[in-house]
Symmetry: C2
DNA sequence: GTGAAAGCGCTAACAA
DNA sequence: TTGTTAGCGCTTTCAC
């Protein structure tokens, strides 16, 4: 752990050139004699100099090369959701060739008072992305704007200088709803994502409906209505996790007058519903149809494949990457709404006779 | 997107104080009259100054506050594995109060030539962590050492100035093996993690055995032997994913003389084996016992709970965090080996009569 | 309690 | 093609 590493000045001195020349030898930005560069490189090797200190370069250029990415609440929670992960993967891939790195910023939002992570306030970053919703009043977004850091929001609202990336989930859900109607279903229940940052588990009544503030949940509910469906029951889940889907499925399927189809707002929730149905001795789709949203690959549900609305997660990540690129060039890209597509699986069929 | 934000000098000028005084008003490191600070803060608000530019601070202090974390190959792959994710969560939690942020660095290792991600070479970071194995010849590790960046390696080898965090998987696997022996099993097969960076799917013969270079895989195989078990078959998986476990299970369980127990080196693999068994009409554990490693929560395997060796993932992440803290203080912490514990589930029982 | 001055390591005008 | 000079924004002695 050498305490004082050599600097460009040391290398320049050793090579017998000026610092600026040495700088050129590394950056390649400017004319320099091959022989001179050789000499500098050799001197660097001799001194065990591993290249220009990024801190100096960053201050000079005013750029950190860092993209702050605000991920959903506890990492653990948001990373349990393949939806976040796959999108993040697409994002990182897009950013890599641009020489940008992703700084993970946990979103403390909601649960623990409305504080923002200290990184949002103080970390160096050229641009930021909030990958899970967020309205204008999102504390993270407010803090970032205060710092003048251009930001892109995924599945949120596009406002003035904030870039927005989303999917056409309302239309997708409507299409899924029509599919169920065409199969002949009339008693359709829906299992939703959280209504706001304080998600609950349970049937939604009028009072709870009034507290719906998450856009994504709202749009997908609206899609169902767009299809002309009035759900016989709306069950809210506190998060997009298999176990919450199971809870929902148990509740919705064990009472009398059970629905003939359940439309869940995520594949994880839907798969939980399938498990609950199996547990109750119900056949899917003969006794009950189940559909999801996201188009995930769920090998453990085999031999079933979920009927689902497929969203292009990698492309979504890439779209965020491109938006970031634009913001770095000083442009505010127009909002992007990616298309989704219905994927028919083995979990939906005609209702029981 | 204002192109030129105010600097500390602007604020100082507006407040009618010197830059150094203004600096004190923000850092609080030094004596300053309350009234003066007030004035500075007010001036800052007026100018819409959001606090000292981290770039300047970083250059001055020589610290970036960034921890580079090299995650397994494609993010998508490594994040599909809850093992990485939960550990990362523990790490981020530990780092947050220290004011450190995590920079994600994809590990291009293996597959695509032996290049390292450009971030490893050029990004600013005070310290780094390689969270998935890595021997001394790991290209990332070599690059980091060349840059003089202190590093901690998880599940790797401890060498001179590199800190190491691991778990006692060899002993844990041995304990699991003895559990199977005590139940009466004699025909035991094992499903392993990849043998090296180029993992394969298939039975391991002598030739392949010679290519075993991943320590973690080796230790867990050795643990089985330590228990006095000579596996009737060793099946290598190309990654720790459910579908690979299913492949392994199909292969191992469909032949004649099938094993009465299968010991997998990860829970994801083990759960795939359980699915394959169910698919083949075999009851678990009546017809075949299945055990895993990691101690994950797999709600979709319900009502079964996997017999597994539980490793403390959050603690492991925290241990990495503490090692990082030590490295930042100039100390090289001694290697840490965390204990594991056997968790008996519903997937192991006596062999069929 | 406050200010003046130096400098962290680098790059980019500009001059030679 | 190379060197000189200035300065990115900040913190930190050290005087006062």
């Amino acid at each position: 752990m050498s305490s004082d590493r050599p600097t460009l000045a040391d290398v320049a001195a050793a090579a017998g050139v000026s610092v600026s020349t040495a700088s050129l030898a590394f950056s390649g930005a400017g004319p320099i004699a091959a022989a001179t560069r050789e000499r500098v490189i050799r001197a660097a090797e001799e001194l065990d100099y591993a290249g220009p200190n990024p801190l100096g370069r960053q201050l000079r250029s005013g750029k950190s090369g860092i993209v702050g990415v605000v991920v959903g609440d506890a990492l653990r929670r948001s990373f349990r959701d393949p939806v976040s992960v796959q999108m993040l993967d697409g994002l990182v891939r897009t950013l890599e060739p641009l020489g940008l790195g992703v700084l993970l910023i946990p979103d403390s939002g909601g649960a623990e008072q409305r504080g923002v992570d200290p990184l949002v306030e103080t970390a160096a970053m050229d641009v930021a992305a909030i990958i899970w919703g967020g309205t204008v009043e999102n504390p993270n977004l407010m803090a970032l704007r205060r710092r003048g850091i251009p930001t892109v929001v995924v599945e949120g609202q596009a406002v003035d200088d904030v870039a927005a990336i989303g999917i056409d989930d309302q239309a997708g859900t409507a299409e899924l709803g029509r599919h169920l109607l065409e199969l002949g279903h009339r008693r359709i229940a829906t299992v939703t994502l959280p209504f706001n940052e304080f998600g609950r588990a349970g049937l939604v009544d009028e009072r709870r409906s009034a507290e719906l503030s998450w856009e994504i949940t709202r749009r997908r509910i609206q899609g169902v209505r767009d299809a002309g469906i009035e759900p016989v029951a709306v069950w809210e889940s506190p998060a997009s996790l298999v176990e919450h889907g199971t809870d929902a499925g148990r509740a919705l399927l064990s009472g009398p007058d059970r629905p003939t189809a359940i439309l869940a707002q995520s594949d994880l929730l839907a798969s939980g519903v399938v498990l609950a149905a199996r547990e109750l001795g119900l056949r899917v789709p003969e006794d009950v149809s189940v559909a999801g949203f996201d188009g995930l690959d769920l090998p453990w549900l085999a031999p079933d494949q979920l009927t689902s609305v497929v969203q292009p997660l990698a492309e979504k990540g890439a779209a965020v990457g491109h938006a970031i690129e634009a913001l770095l060039e000083g442009r505010v890209p127009p909002p992007v709404m990616l298309p989704v597509s219905l994927r028919l699986g083995t979990t939906t069929g005609p209702p029981p006779a």
